[in-house]
Symmetry: C2
Amino acid sequence: MIKWTIKNQKTVFESNIFKVRSLACLHPVKSIEHNFHILDMPDWINVVALTEDDKFIMVRQHRLGTDEFTLETPAGLIEKGERPKTAALRELMEETGYKPKNITLMKKLYTNPAIMNNYIYFYLATGCAKIEKQRLDLAEDIEVRLYNKPEIQAMLQNGKINHSIIITALCLYFMGTPIN
Amino acid sequence: MIKWTIKNQKTVFESNIFKVRSLACLHPVKSIEHNFHILDMPDWINVVALTEDDKFIMVRQHRLGTDEFTLETPAGLIEKGERPKTAALRELMEETGYKPKNITLMKKLYTNPAIMNNYIYFYLATGCAKIEKQRLDLAEDIEVRLYNKPEIQAMLQNGKINHSIIITALCLYFMGTPIN
């Protein structure tokens, strides 16, 4: 197996969330050239958060990708220089007002190596207590909803939770360690 | 909960795989304006494929997003007008040369509603037999590797499989229906 050689690269588009980078590549064996486009993204965090009485803390919001309301585990972008765990605690607090007793990393994964270069850190936050109000950006509208375990399992089954990253987070929680 | 009103939208960047669309939005209650960028993508398929003797058919390839070799379940883009199941069978055949006895949809999910508008269809293909050689695009280099269940479980644990979408596919398989 041979890697492409990146001969040249440049940013060809920039939004406030991601950049598109164009990679001019050469295959060292086949001697063919190919142009790839990848997305430069900040790393993400995603938090499966449970209250002191084991309710799942979920957030519902309008998402512009699909133009629908989506039910999700709290999540967000890691800020420049911020530690992943700090980002997880910050996003959980901002979006829901809850603070956990314990927080542990379940898994650090690549989001999508084919076109993205970032990691997503999946955390488990337990013993969460509501200690303050939400602190949302002006452009955020987030509704907090609590569910028990059978309700979450039913929504995984019936498609009410239909966001692949949220399914990943909840599967990591339900499968625990080891996966068997 | 209120949805943003999309006042205006236009494609601001286009690659051979995705487009970036800029959405000028107005919040009907707060009366604030906000600009979102989303990615128009074709739908994707992903296939957990098992041979007749229950080996997992995995593919290893250089991915430019991370510039690393990644171990994945076979996957690809659905072509215009193609049925998802047809795409799953086609990609499995092209990337590996294997054809299944049975193929079933495990789950249809949004990839990432925050910034993408596409679906990913997760299939389970069983009783796969190698009936021909790979048929790769000129720009593809894909190595086929077979693993038994304990090897896959070990690689989920130890991070050798570290691609979130592949984790989702394998979790859906291992958790089965119902999720409990």
